[in-house]
């Protein structure tokens, strides 16, 4: 008889023969007792993805944004507490009831090419990034700047709303007060670029800015790596500590982990599920683990223009039928339950608000009210048609989609999963009238509720082919509250407005909110001075390397 014990032994044998079960010990630190930063060394990490551009004017993905921050400083920036602080601007003023922002630019800043940074450079860089010929996906974020429409229609050569008031004094005027405008200036398109970039976007420009690192000739091999080196003219004294940063592209997670274990990479965050668990439960690595904030929100977006989700009761039924704990089991160390619009890490979120909760009885009651009563015992009733649900291969939604299918079948909503390419998924899920329900995620650009709620739920974000409002949700009451939040400068009153928006969206359920995602990062202990940033990935601004030159790392080192 082939007993379970024998079967387990056989599988264990397969594991031992085929795999490296034990993690190696962390590599040694040179001066563990000394916290004084040491200059020098090259920090190496890798990414599963690639970058299409390092030009801030056309940067539109997470990996490029990280690289852009190494090379280009911003007027203002989020600090490690998520608070806006001066960077290239020494200070700023909010004038004329929130319609004018005046920036006092530092006088000691030089571009990588040695030329000084002036207010003219900031104006030129912004105009270059917002020019209608520039392939900038976030240009419309700045539509509140005075003269934007005329400039976007090429009727005027300059943006009237950006005024140079002195060599180092710049004002930006808005058509209406906007409390959420300042965070926009931390985005890549608002980061000043060298004069060599010119006034018009060109694809062949060699990236040059005012950031802590600079790109030299041969520093970027597309699809392979980018190597940026220390900017000796960086305006923050003593920084950066590192000589260089090397970022390798298109490296799959197992390869990243192997290279990390032998010290060929110093930092990893693209780990497989199993590797995440291995590091998380190995006591020797605990001090080297960092968990990032919840930056992404995930949910099931229901098209409010298509049956059956044009019926609010069906949407409420879906929101109540999803057992979100089961979703987190797919990647327990990355996903947490999220029952409302904003991730818990967002400032001002009411942690006591329950949001959409799992309640099967309530879900069945909503289905009854919608006119689709369902008897779980007999499987009779429910919505009579099968609903198509898009998933793309190899992503997290391929797994959570199967859970949606299982869980909605319990209330009489029959889902058919449709495996399509990533490009088809993107195009169909944002096209009007194309799909009734789709899995969606949104990564906030900055920690302000407007950065999530406006693109996802404002009716102004609806368009026929590339709608970020994938639920095609229109609610005039919500629209007016979102608009009011922009003109409200009192932080407490603003929070109240967004809390009301949150309640409306939970009740109206254009999305069934499910989870939020945070990063799980691991570094070799010799990479020091690192803390995860509340907004940005790869926060290496103040890190340094202190790698021991003695001792040979063992691949099966003793456990502490």
């Amino acid at each position: 008889m082939f007993s379970t014990r024998k079967a387990s032994l056989l599988f264990a044998l397969i594991g031992v023969l085929g795999c490296d079960i034990a993690l190696p010990a962390p590599l040694p630190v040179g001066h563990p007792a000394d916290d004084t930063p040491r200059a020098g060394g090259t920090l190496r990490f890798a990414s599963l993805g690639d970058v299409r551009s390092i030009d801030p004017a056309r940067c539109n993905d997470g990996v490029s944004s990280s690289l852009v921050r190494f090379l280009f400083a911003a007027l203002i920036e989020f600090d490690e507490q998520g608070k806006l602080v001066p960077e290239l601007a020494e200070r700023w003023e909010v004038l004329d009831g929130g319609t004018r922002f005046r920036f006092f630019i530092r006088q000691d800043v030089r571009f990588h090419d040695g030329s000084p940074l002036t207010a003219e450079d900031v104006k030129r860089s912004l105009e270059r990034a917002l020019h209608p010929d520039t392939p900038n996906p976030s240009a419309s974020y700045f539509r509140n700047v005075v003269g934007y429409d005329l400039y976007a229609d090429k009727k005027v050569p300059h943006l009237d709303g950006i005024e140079v008031e002195g060599s180092h004094l710049l004002s930006i005027r808005l058509t209406s007060p906007d409390a959420a405008f300042l965070p926009l200036l931390t985005l890549p398109p608002a980061r000043p670029v060298c004069k060599s970039a010119g006034a018009q976007f060109a694809d062949n420009w060699a990236p040059c800015g005012t950031g802590p690192f600079q790109l030299r000739d041969g520093g970027w091999s597309k699809g392979q790596f980018v190597r940026v080196v220390r900017n000796p003219m960086y305006f923050v004294p003593g920084l950066p500590h590192l000589d260089a940063i090397e970022m390798h592209f298109l490296m799959n997670p197992p390869t990243q982990r192997f290279k990390f274990e032998v010290g060929e990479l110093d930092f990893v965050r693209d780990l497989t599920h199993a590797d995440t668990i291995r590091f998380a439960r190995d006591r020797r690595w605990q001090d080297a683990i960092a968990r990032g904030p919840d930056l992404d929100v995930y949910g099931e977006s229901m098209n409010t223009e298509m049956p059956p989700f044009d019926n609010v009761e069906v949407r409420r039924a879906v929101a109540a039928a999803l057992d979100r704990k089961a979703f987190t089991a797919v990647r327990p160390l990355h996903l947490s339950v999220n029952t409302a619009t904003l991730p818990q890490s967002m400032p001002g979120v009411d942690a006591t608000f329950q949001g959409q909760t799992f309640d099967l009885e309530k879900a069945l009651e909503h289905m009854r009210r919608a006119g689709y009563p369902f008897d779980p015992k007999t499987g009779q009733g429910g919505y009579p048609k099968t609903i198509s649900y898009l998933v793309y291969p190899l992503g997290i939604h391929e797994k959570t989609g199967q859970l949606v299918q299982q869980q909605l079948s319990r209330i009489g909503i029959r889902i058919e999963l449709r495996l399509v390419s990533w490009a088809s998924y993107l195009s169909l899920s944002q096209r009007q009238g194309a799909v009734a329900i789709s899995p969606q995620g949104w990564q906030q650009d900055f920690p302000d509720p407007s950065g999530v709620l406006d693109p996802l739920f404002s009716s102004t974000s609806i368009n026929a082919t590339e709608s970020s409002n994938s639920a095609f949700y229109r609610n005039p009451a919500l629209d007016s509250m979102l608009a009011r939040a922009h003109t409200e400068f009192d932080p407490e009153r603003r929070k109240d407005i967004y809390r009301t928006c949150n309640r409306i969206l939970v009740e109206d359920a254009p999305w069934a909110f499910t989870t939020s995602l945070h990063s799980f990062e691991i570094r070799q202990p010799y990479l020091r001075g690192y803390t995860p940033h509340p907004v940005h990935s790869y926060n290496f601004a103040r890190t340094w390397l202190d790698r021991s030159t003695t001792g040979t790392p063992s691949s099966l080192g003793p456990r502490r």
């Binding site: 397969i14 997670p253 599920h273 199993a274 998933v391 797994k399 449709r418 495996l419």
Partner: protein, 285 residues
């Protein structure tokens, strides 16, 4: 030679039949014998304290998958699908390949037939110049929605090329044999000659070729699923299970080992069976 004699004489036939029988039995009876439904997640019972799916146990004989479903039930259902696709696609390929091979071989060198033969064989040459899996993947990627029927068509229309070559060569030999010449001399119609005299003599070759290609078809279907252009979830396919298991092999090796073993056993089984069949039907070949 009786069947028992053939089994005694040809080890590959023996082992092929054993392996294929095990796979068929497991695939047919497995879903009924499985203790759990193949499509229902049960994290309460199938997740360990370490947040991983449970390994092989009495309750879950082959462990649970990443969505905490029964691997035994899913593997067996995946087997049904693999067998169906492998056998049906091979049948399509054998039919098309056999037809093209016989027609081409019979027409070769004849007045007016050479053009037909050359055209068909150049078509085969073009098709064979593409690596099989690359061709299958390209067609798979073109189809916006993959279904069992579209998979069968994809594998069938790309898998007949080699068979056509083999059957043509066999037909070329047979058509010049005395009994075929005699039939022609007696004024029999060409279609009757092809049906009554050529086909029965190439059927053995065709059968062997089809059996050998079943393994290739199963492998091709697994590759498509592994690369994410196969059937939509939650349909269990061995290729997709293999992909899901690869990132957990250090902590949950059964996720990788089960579909891998199933694919190896099935492909090996059909290959051995096909080779054994060839030895029996064409001992001189």
């Amino acid at each position: 030679m009786s069947f028992q004699q053939a089994l005694r004489k040809h080890a590959s036939l023996r082992w092929g039949i054993v392996l294929v029988s095990i796979v068929v039995l497991f695939s047919v009876a497995g879903p009924w014998l499985a203790p759990h439904d193949a499509f229902t997640s049960n994290p309460e019972r199938a997740m360990t304290d370490a947040l991983l799916p449970v390994g092989p146990s009495i309750e879950y004989p082959l462990g649970a998958d990443r969505l905490f479903r029964d691997m035994f039930a899913r593997l067996a259902l995946g087997g049904r699908l693999s067998l169906l696709i492998g056998i049906a696609a091979s049948a399509i390929a054998a039919t098309v390949g056999g037809l093209v091979g016989i027609v081409s071989g019979y027409a070769a060198g004849k007045k007016g037939g050479s053009i037909l033969d050359s055209s068909l064989m150049r078509l085969v040459d073009v098709g064979l110049s593409f690596p099989f899996l690359l061709l299958v993947m390209a067609i798979g990627a073109l189809l916006d929605r993959t279904t069992v029927a579209s998979l069968l068509v994809t594998l069938g229309v790309t898998g007949w090329l080699g068979t056509a070559r083999i059957v043509r060569a066999k037909t070329l030999t047979i058509r010049d044999l005395d009994y075929v010449l005699a039939a022609r001399a007696l004024g029999q119609q060409q279609i009757v000659i092809l049906w009554k005299h050529i086909l029965p003599n190439v059927i053995g070759t065709l059968l062997v070729s089809a059996t050998l290609s079943i393994g290739q078809m199963i492998l091709a279907e697994s590759v498509l699923s592994y690369l994410g252009v196969g059937l939509s979830p939650p349909t269990p396919t061995w290729g997709a299970m293999l992909y899901e298991g690869q990132d957990s092999y250090t902590l949950a090796p059964w996720l990788l080992a089960c579909p891998a073993a199933a694919i190896v056993a099935t492909v090996l089984g059909f290959n051995l069976f096909g080779e054994g069949l060839r030895d029996v039907l064409d001992p001189k070949g």
